[in-house]
Symmetry: C2
Subunit: 359 residues, 2 copies
């Protein structure tokens, strides 16, 4: 059984990654996170595929189920309130445990419910998307304001994460692209060997499976765990995780959330940041080769031509880390090594103009 | 300046209790909890009396104001969401500070907003009720589910509490009764000398003022602080704070929230628990004298005759600490000394029958 142990200042827990682990998930959860009763919060898509078989693996404890509509719009106050009322209706108490069964949306939403019901009860994550390698480590849980993504939340660490890569078989291809982009990001900022391995191993997103898939997820989880452990409250190096995100977020916001997946937008941001790193540091990061690889995997790497540079810039300047017209931008000093550097609005406009003109 | 220092495992902060401190509140807050900007969340009643003069004491920093309707029904999801949207509209960031200006309702609500906006920003409490000696210490913040009080919340400690007893001049008498009941409770469970002092000093709730009032609040705050410091996560002795509350909560719930104040209901519970302690421990706690004192202060001490014992009992059995028909009940082993003891449903019915019959 492949395990990554995550140590936080409040709690230590395992991320178990194993093909077919869903078949024993209930009994593992009953052992590692025993409870008076469970409430399973499940994505509706995931429920159609896997709910019945998952429920059958619980042998001792009552499991109440709340199904949540698929999609980002479920990270809302309405769903949050509804689920808390469900907790109360099902008579959950401080010794009950919430189980999040779905992608990042369900993990964030169910984690926030668990973190605030009766001032915090335990929860377990059973992720079902590739992106969840990221969302299930670090303890960030959140819902959205109508105008601000992830603006309301907490740090609340799970008791256990049970990751069954077989569940990814039913994941739509664009969700594979979204998740894989964040895995590549992890390699770019922190692990050159992993980057090399990925480039060799992955020539199509539909062909990653079996032990390679387990290994890939395990490596990404371990990298994320290492970074957040070093910086649990997001004061310093955790910022490296924003590689590709400054522009990526701006693209998402300008196109309207949902038009591209988060990872697809981040990938455009990474392609830009790669080139920017080369120019600013006067180094060769083989950006053209990586960009060709991205394209061969089905990604768009250009900034969508419908977007105006000035609009992107003003989105970027809303970033939490922007101060007085200067952004703290994540760049690479080498493959596998990120730095965070100030970059002015003028520089950005110039670079964006080169990029947009260049395609 | 009278100060109580509160040490928690996350933070150390002062509760400053001083007549007229509101006149310098802004500048003290600017010093102790400096911020990029403030958002002041204020009770509408409190706003009519004190908002203008409070705002004038800020000299350097922008203060945005959100007014909240008075009363328990404001501890709702609707107000919570509205205030979080206000935070976003006012562009609060991680270096902003929320100020709660009102009684326990505002402290709990604003504290929960602060605890979850951007995964937690700082907050300051400026309490305006007598009961706030209790609600402003301990870090519990919460809102209500429609059917469950304080079911959603967190622990989130303030940076500072600034308590100006002069603000209590405008507090309605029933709110004095509510707050004073919790002060008496603190004395009963943990400080016999304080109890003696209270009994000598207080022969009418309208006559407590000046240095006596400051001293009384200071003592109550210090006692609460000592108890929660010893037990921040409410695992053990913090349970003593529930003296009078098991029956009190049941009475509140049966009468419908708002029919009596929380403290008035708790006082009935304390009168009951005093007598129960005498009978169970075969000791003399001068319950008749205390009950006469309560009545002289304007309290009702009898269980309202409209309430059925069976209904009260089933409310009490909903208590978080009830297990298999047995409650953990806070009793006194002596004046100033609480114990927590199991008591069965049958015993309770018998005792309640004696009490209700006896009046
Ligand atoms: N907490 C964190 O640290 C963190 C990190 C990254 C992202 N996130 C959050 O995660 C969210 C995105 O997560 P996501 O990409 O997993 O999205 P998601 O949870 O919305 O899942 C994507 C889509 O795939 C479907 N789906 C999920 N699993 C499936 C399966 N096994 N088979 C078939 N369909 C399946 C879902 O119904 C949904 O339509 C965002 O809200 C983001 O803010 C959080
Ligand atoms: N967090 C905790 O540890 C804790 C402890 C005890 C109680 N509480 C909570 O506190 C709440 C009750 O607090 P409360 O009794 O302070 O109630 P409150 O905040 O509702 O205030 C009582 C009433 O007095 C008015 N008021 C407040 N200050 C005034 C002033 N100076 N002049 C005139 N009017 C004034 C208010 O408008 C309100 O109508 C409950 O929701 C309870 O759950 C929390």
């Amino acid at each position: 059984m492949m395990k990554v142990n995550v140590c936080t200042d409040k709690k230590t827990y395992d991320v178990v990654i194993e093909q077919g682990v869903l078949n024993q998930a209930g009994s593992i959860i009953e052992k590692v996170a025993p409870a008076s009763r469970y409430m399973l919060i499940v994505d509706e898509q995931v429920a159609t595929h896997y709910l019945e078989s998952f429920l059958q693996t619980f042998t001792q404890t009552a499991v109440h189920v709340s199904v949540v509509p698929s999609g980002e719009q479920s990270k809302s106050f309405a769903q949050y309130e509804r689920l808390l009322n469900d907790c109360f209706e099902y008579q959950l108490d401080r010794s009950s445990v919430i189980i999040a069964f779905g992608g990042g949306v369900i993990g964030d939403l169910a984690g926030f419910v668990a973190g605030t019901y009766m001032r915090g009860i335990s929860f377990v994550q059973v992720p079902t998307t590739l992106l969840a390698h990221d969302s299930s480590v670090g303890g960030k849980v959140a819902i959205n304001l109508e105008k601000g993504k992830n603006m309301v939340g907490l740090f609340h660490q799970p008791e256990l994460v049970l990751y069954d890569p077989q569940l990814l078989q039913t994941l739509p291809e664009k969700e594979w692209r979204s998740g894989f982009a964040e895995i590549v990001k992890m390699a770019f900022i922190a692990d050159r060997d992993f980057l090399t391995w990925l480039e060799e191993e992955v020539d199509s997103l539909t062909s990653i499976e079996g032990e390679s898939l387990v290994r890939m997820i395990e490596r990404a989880v371990a990298l994320k765990a290492r970074i957040v452990q070093q910086d649990e409250q997001e004061l310093g190096i955790r910022g490296m995780l924003n590689f590709g995100h400054t522009l990526g977020h701006a693209i998402e916001a300008e196109l309207g959330y949902g038009a591209v997946t988060h990872g697809e937008a981040v990938l455009i941001g990474m392609a830009f940041a790669l080139k920017l790193s080369e120019r600013k540091h006067n180094i060769d990061l083989a950006s053209d080769r990586y960009i060709a690889w991205f394209q061969s995997l089905g990604y768009t790497v250009q900034i969508p031509s419908s977007l105006e540079i000035t609009d992107l810039l003003s989105q970027m300047m809303k970033d939490k880390k922007a101060r007085h017209g200067t952004l703290h931008y994540v760049l690479l000093s080498a493959l596998g090594k990120a730095t965070i550097e100030p970059i002015t609005a003028e520089e950005l406009v110039a670079e964006l103009t080169v990029e947009k003109g260049g395609h």
